[in-house]
Amino acid sequence: MMAFLKLLARNRLALAGGIVLSFVVLLALITPLLPLAEPNVTNTAARFQKLFTEGALLGTDHLGRDLLSRLMWGTRLSLAVGFAAAVVAATLGAAIGIVAGFYGGRTDNLIMRGVDMLMAFPYILLALAIVAALGPGLFNALIAVAAVNVPFFARNIRGITVGIAHKEFVDAARLAGLSNTRIILTEILPNVIPVIVIAMSTTIGWMILETAGLSFLGLGSQPPQADLGSMLGEARSALITNPHTSVVPGIMILIIVMSINLLGDGVRDALDPRLKSGALSRPMASTMVRRKDPVPQAEGKGLLEVQELQTQFHVKDRVYRAVGGVSLHVKPGECLGVIGESGSGKSVTALSVMGLVASPPGVITGGAVRYDGEDLIGAPYRKLREMRGRNVAYIFQDPLATLHPLYKVGDQLIEAIRAHRPISKSEGQARAIELLKAVRIPNAEKRITDYPHEMSGGMRQRVGIAMALANDPDIIIADEPTTALDVTVQAQILSLLDDLRRSRGLAIVFITHDFGVVGQLCDRVAVMYAGRIVEEGPTQSVLETPTHPYTARLMACVPELGEGKRRLEAIPGLPPVVDKLPAGCAFADRCDRVQADCRQGEIDLEREGARAVRCIHPVTPLKEAAE
C-alpha cells in the first residue's frame, strides 16, 4: 500500500490532481462553517452583480443570490450526489457481478444477458427513461445515474470473481463446509474490493458529470436548491448578458472532474505493471546510437563486416550488455552460422546490423557495421531505410507473428518491392507470383490473395523468404527461420535457402541454436555466449574438433540418428544475466573444466589460422584443432 502511494506521488500530474481534489472536498466539507451569505436568499434589487463586487466576491445571479455561497453549496451537493451515485452503482454492480461470477452457469448466463441488454442502450438515454418514470428530482437523478452505471461494475467485477472463484483457497473453504454466503463475504469480497475502488475512482468523474447534466436539463435538483448543473442550467438564459453566472459553476465542474481524472489516471498507471517497466514504449524507426570509443577501421574482410559491435539495453538504471564486442564477417555466396542459446545475443547482433533493435531500450554503444566498407552505425535513418530489404534483407522466426495479419501476402510482397522502386499494380502482381514460385509455393497465382492465417507454417515461412528476396538483396540475415517449423518442413526450407545462396550468390548470416542446422547449411560458424563470440571457425573443423567447452557441450545436446544410446547432455545452469557479467569467463560457472584463473581478468579471442577460441583451458588445444 505504501509502495503504491509512493508510486502515485511520483506521478506529478496525479499528485496535483489529488491536491486540488482534496482542497475542493475540504472546502465542501467545511462550507456550513464558513461565513458565507445564505445561498437561497433572493434579493432582486441586487441582480447580476459583477465579479468582485463588494460583499459578493463572485457576484450574484438572476435572483440576486450570492454566487460564491451558491457555488460552495452547489459543489457540496454535486460531490455528495456524484459520490453517492458511485457508491450505489459500485455496491449493486459488485453484488450482481459477484453472484454471477461465483455461481456461474445459468445464473451467470441470465444475469449477464440482462446486463448486456442494459449496455445496448445509449447511455444517457437510459438515464432519461428512468427519470421519466420516477419524475424529475435530485434523488431520482441519482438513482438514474447509478442505475446506468451498474452494468459497467457488474461486468468488471464478474470477470474478476470468475478468476477468484476457481482458486485453491476458495476450494479449500468449500471443502471446509463453509456456506456460499460466508465464502463470498470472507474469501471473495476482500479480494474484489480493491478492484471496486479502482473502478470507482475512474468512474466517479463521469457520475458527477452525468448528475450535473441531468440537473442542467432541469431533471435533477429542483429550485431553490442547486447543484452545479442546475446553476449552469439557470444561468443559461442570461449567458449573453451575464456570462459570469455560467462561467463560475462551469469552471468548478471542470476543476472537479479534471482533478478526479488526473488522480484516476495516476491510480491506473500505478497499478499497471507494464508501465512500470517502461515496456509500453514504442520502438523508434532505428536503433539509438551512442558511441564513445573511436570507430574501428575498415579491414575489407567481406561484404558485411561487423566490428567490435556493442549493443546494450538500458532499462531504468540497469544496463544489459546484450552484445559485448562482437566481430563477424561474411563474403558473397558464403553462409555464416551464428549459434548460441536463447539470450546469448545472437538475434540482437543480427538486428543491430540494420538498426532494428527496439529502441528504447536498445542502444548501440560501440563498434561498426560495414556494408561494402561503409559504416552503417549512426548512418542517417534515410540511408538505413533505403538499404533495408534492398541490400540487407531479414527472415524472421515465427512468420505468423512477423507477417501483417490483416494484409494479403501478395500485397505484402508488392509493398516490399514498392518500398524501393515504383512499380505498377499488374507488374507488382506478376513479380509477387514470380517470387512465390521461386520459393516453391504451389499454386502461387491463387496464394497471393491468401491472408497469413490461411497458410500453413511452412508456407508462411516461404512467404517470409520470398519477401526477403523481393529486391534481390546481397545479404540475407535469417534469424532462426526454421525454429517454429516441424522437421520435414525445416529440411525443405534449409535446402531452399541453400539453393538460393548458390544460384544468386547471396551472403547468408544464419542464426540458430541448432548445430544440426549449422552442419547442413553453413560454411563457417561463430558460437556466441553471453553477448560475445567464444569460438569461430570453418563448420567442418569446429564440428570435428570443438575447442571451447561450451561448443562441446552445445554439440552434445544434439541427438544423432543411428548413434544408439548416446547420453544427451543438457548444460547445467543458465547463462549469466547480462547486466552483471562475472569477471573472466562468463561460462565459468557452468563449465566442468573451470580453474581458478578462468575467473580472473579478460580472456581474449585467440586466433590460429581459420580457428579462434576464447578459452584458456580448451577441450582441444587451438593449434591442434586448426591443423
Partner: protein, 315 residues
C-alpha cells in the same frame, strides 16, 4: 458476407426485444394510474377510463406488453397528448435533426480522435504527445453543455462567426451551407468528449501494436516510417479502435440531448426532455425505444466494418 449480416440481424432481435422489455418495465414503475400520468392530473375520469381501455391498461402486465409491442411493430407508437400528434411522426421528424448533429459529430470525433491518437503514439513522450495528452484530458473533463455555452459566447457573441442557435436561419434560404454554418458549433461541442476518449484509446492501441513483430518486419523491408505508422500499425490498431467507435457513437447519440438544449437544436433529445417535464409518457417511451433500436442497428454496421477489416473473423 451476406450470410454474416443476416446472422447479425437475427441475433439483434433478442436485444431489440430486451430493450422493449426494459423500457416497458421502467415505465411500469410510474407510481399511480398510468392513464392519469399520460393525460395529466386535470383529465376527466371518462377520458382516463377511455385511455385505459384503449391502451389495454385494464389487462394484466404481460398482456399489456404484447399489445404495446404489437402496436409498435405496426408503426403505432401511440399519440402524444402534449403535441396531439402520432408519436412516430414526431420522433421521425426530430430524429432527423439528431442524426444530422450526432452523425457529423461522430465523423469529427472518429477522424480527429484517431489522428490525434496516432500522432501522439508516433511521437511518444515528445511535445506533440504531451500537448495532445493535455488537450485530451481537458476535453474529457469539460461538460459538453458548458463547452457549448462557452463556444456560443466566444464564436457567436464575441467573434460573430457562427449563429447562436437553431438548425436553420430564421430568414433566408435553407441550403446545405446554411445548415453547415449552424452545425459547426454544436457538432464540435458534442464531439469533444468522444474525441478525447477515442484519442486515448487509439494512442494505447497504437503503442501496443507498434511493439509487435510485424512492425519490425515492415521496417526490415524498408517501408518508410509514415507507411509503418499509418498503413501497418494503424490498420492493426483499428481492430481494437472500431469497437470503441461503436460505444462512442452511443455517447454521441444520447449526449446530443445537452447540445440540443444549449443550441436550441430540434432533435430527439430536446423532445425527450420536454416530454419528461410535461409527463408525456408515450412520447418518452416511443422516443427511447426508437433511438435505442437505431443504436442497436448501428452496432451491426460496426460489426460488419470489423469483419471487413479483420479477415480472421469468420464471415
Amino acid at each position: 458476407m451476406g450470410r454474416y449480416i443476416l446472422g447479425r440481424l437475427i441475433s439483434a432481435i433478442p436485444v431489440l426485444l430486451g430493450i422493449t422489455v426494459i423500457v416497458f418495465l421502467i415505465m411500469a414503475l410510474i407510481p399511480g394510474d398510468p392513464a392519469t400520468a399520460i393525460l395529466g392530473s386535470y383529465a376527466t375520469p371518462e377520458n382516463v377510463e377511455k385511455l385505459n381501455r384503449d391502451l389495454g391498461l385494464d389487462k394484466p402486465l404481460v398482456a399489456q406488453y404484447f399489445i404495446w409491442l404489437g402496436n409498435m411493430l405496426q408503426g403505432d407508437f401511440g399519440t402524444s397528448f402534449s403535441l396531439n400528434r402520432p408519436v412516430i411522426d414526431e420522433v421521425l421528424e426530430r430524429f432527423n435533426g439528431t442524426l444530422i448533429l450526432a452523425g457529423t459529430s461522430f465523423v469529427i470525433c472518429s477522424v480527429l480522435g484517431i489522428m490525434a491518437g496516432v500522432i501522439s503514439a508516433a511521437n511518444q513522450y515528445g511535445w506533440a504527445d504531451k500537448g495532445i495528452t493535455f488537450v485530451v484530458l481537458l476535453g474529457i473533463s469539460i461538460p459538453s453543455f458548458f463547452l457549448g455555452m462557452m463556444m456560443i459566447l466566444f464564436f457567436s457573441v464575441n467573434l460573430r462567426i457562427f449563429p447562436v442557435s437553431g438548425m436553420w436561419p430564421i430568414y433566408g434560404t435553407r441550403d446545405i451551407w446554411a445548415l453547415l454554418n449552424h452545425l459547426v458549433l454544436p457538432a464540435s461541442a458534442l464531439a469533444v468528449v468522444a474525441t478525447g476518449v477515442i484519442a486515448r484509446l487509439s494512442r494505447s492501441a497504437m503503442l501496443e501494436v507498434l511493439r509487435q513483430d510485424f512492425i519490425r518486419t515492415a521496417r526490415a523491408k524498408g517501408v518508410n516510417e509514415r507507411g509503418v505508422i499509418w498503413r501497418h500499425a494503424l490498420k492493426a490498431a483499428m481492430v481494437s479502435i472500431i469497437p470503441v467507435l461503436g460505444i462512442q457513437a452511443g455517447f454521441v447519440l444520447s449526449g446530443a440531448v445537452y447540445i440540443e438544449i444549449v443550441f436550441q437544436w430540434p432533435g430527439v433529445g430536446r423532445m425527450l426532455v420536454d416530454a419528461i417535464l410535461k409527463r408525456d409518457i408515450l412520447l418518452v417511451q416511443g422516443g427511447v425505444v426508437f433511438v435505442a433500436a437505431c443504436y442497436v442497428l448501428f452496432n451491426i454496421v460496426v460489426d460488419v466494418a470489423q469483419s471487413l477489416l479483420d479477415p480472421r473473423i469468420k464471415t
